[in-house]
Symmetry: C2
Subunit: 355 residues, 2 copies
């Protein structure tokens, strides 16, 4: 508990006193004022988060956390559970979408086993922080114990802190775990109060029958577990999963260290909900990279109050959207820090701003 | 006329026979089918445009064309005309937004003087293809002669062909020219048939009085010139400008060489309209990088039938949105060409696709 409380206590408001100063610099750059729209907004927010007028994004890190879900026994996914570990090996070999997109934006990928159901073959690129061998079936009872929920968040915090020691200017979240849209829908329904139907999607691509069964499973899970929406640890422990807890830890740790955190899609959104209930101040540290096809995701973003950067009909996870979002945020920061001012470039000001 | 006709004759349909083959490869990559949404669409389109199942994006080029507009005498812009040439010098020194964003995505910037009002100081980075020293005031009569319109398109074609000889896998369009939103609104109103009020925006940021005056100027220009919406050369010559003609040439040349072309905002959209009237087949060769704040831009995209990639409230021009769009399209192409397949990675297929 101590690590979690210490981290929560270190989360402060962002430095909004810088907003005006940064906007003034943006307004003096050789372009019509505010003509770069949201790029300017992103740059300003990174400045306020980091407390730097001239922030620099050099080290970009994607935390891809994996875990298995006992609820797959209910047949809620289109893919077998073994895909979780197979995909982790794929990550280590560079063949997955996240490898390609992280490479595209120059980010490093950290792969973490938070609770895969099997023992993975040891590999230097896989951090093993296994809380347990997959969660239990949430439609039968709690997915994990409260102790395991705390443990998963704590591990996320620790991993973030280790990585930040190696240089970390912006972080992205990513997930891998067959069955984890079921947990995420359950978390979203519980915390936002939306009906299960409104927050449940087709995950990796299930058919109509499986879809309606998935909704029933989530309803049953909420009914028998009765998670308390105001107690994030209760929600996490009852609904799962280990990778969601780990990502909540990463998000909290990023905020505590004043590092911008870029959320991927629905699973990352569920982790953000857990973190948000624990400490609402984290809202200002987060960017929503995109809006997922998974319908619960838009509801999460509205609930927290985040406007997505991209809308490309993505629904893959792994941090793929976060990688692209980081590329756009970095572009905004470069605008702030690399452009010439009207004065330095010898460009005339607007007629009505000339002295 | 010969260069233009030869180019128009070389524009063929894209190779849609590849669509299914490329989608099949995308479906075999280690991700749920279609889970990368529009990224997959972009990759597939690049494949069909280039006629390659495994397209490669290495050389990225942004064509930034500059020209002046006689209509600035009417006081339709917030900035003085000298800013056009000052910004070109800023481009050569790397201080403008387009330099920063082109650098971010690894694209080279080609700066072309298509018709700036003054003689620019000679610089190795500036291609001088001046058609004339700025257009005439379109609210008094034609902005240029029909010969000049043809000349501007021809120059755009020639510049594209020169550059493509040096390596060119994807092209973006960009513009610089104080007063050019006025020409673009006039072109848009004429070709799409929308009322002037619906296609006119605040450009670099004009006040209410100037805005209503700008609308009157455009209405007057359409009234006295009566451009024929079915004759693109008539529209271009009467409404201007030289950089818009040049960009239309770039777009046509790209399509004739089967190279994807990424449109920036409103001015590029007006150039695309001119090119589209000359040869509607170009539609399939174009990507709309973003949707500009300039309200006429959305109308252009709807008219041609293009869905923007980004929506970041940009309204700067210079090719800034095109640069970001190129980065996203490139990400899609890398997904197609760099990811592992289920088979090569040893990842299990969906339960219902297993044999």
């Amino acid at each position: 508990m101590q690590t979690l409380y210490k981290t929560l206590n270190k989360i402060n408001e962002i430095d909004s006193s810088l907003a005006e100063k940064i906007q003034k610099r943006l307004d003096n750059l050789t372009k019509p004022q505010r003509s770069l729209g949201r790029l300017e907004e992103f740059a300003n927010k990174v400045g306020q988060i980091t407390g730097k007028e001239n922030p620099c994004i050099k080290d970009k890190v994607l935390f891809v956390m994996a875990g298995d879900h006992g609820v797959v026994d209910e047949g809620v996914s289109a893919y077998p559970q073994e895909v979780t570990s197979q995909m982790i090996y794929n990550f280590t070999k560079g063949g997955a979408a996240i490898n390609v997109l992280a490479g595209h934006v120059g980010a490093r990928v950290i792969i973490i086993d938070m609770g895969v159901a099997c023992r993975l073959v040891s590999h230097p690129k896989i951090l093993v922080r296994k809380v347990n061998f997959g969660t239990k079936n949430l439609s039968d009872g709690p997915a994990m114990t409260r102790g395991e929920a705390i443990h998963s968040i704590k591990s996320g915090i620790e991993i973030f802190e280790e990585e930040s020691g190696k240089g970390l200017d912006i972080a992205g979240t990513g997930d891998m775990g067959i069955g984890n849209t079921t947990s995420s829908s359950a978390i979203t329904a519980c915390i936002t109060g939306e009906p299960v139907e409104n927050v449940t999607g087709r995950g990796t691509g299930i058919d109509d029958n499986t879809f309606s069964h998935k909704i029933d499973v989530i309803k049953k899970a909420l009914e028998i577990n009765k998670p308390d929406p105001e107690d994030a640890l209760d929600v996490l422990s009852k609904m799962g999963g280990f990778e969601i807890g780990g990502l909540a830890g990463v998000i909290l740790a990023a905020a505590s260290k004043r590092i911008p955190i870029v959320l991927d899609g629905f699973i990352s959104g569920a982790a953000a909900l857990i973190a948000y209930v624990l400490e609402p101040k984290i809202k200002e540290y987060m960017f929503a990279a995109h809006c997922s096809v998974e319908r619960g995701h838009g509801i999460i973003l509205d609930y927290i109050g985040l406007k997505p950067i991209l809308d490309l009909n993505l629904r893959l996870g792994e941090g793929t959207g976060a990688a692209l979002g980081i590329g756009i945020i970095e572009a905004g920061v470069k605008i702030l820090t690399q452009m010439a001012t009207f004065e330095s470039a010898g460009v005339s000001e607007r007629e009505d701003r000339k002295r």
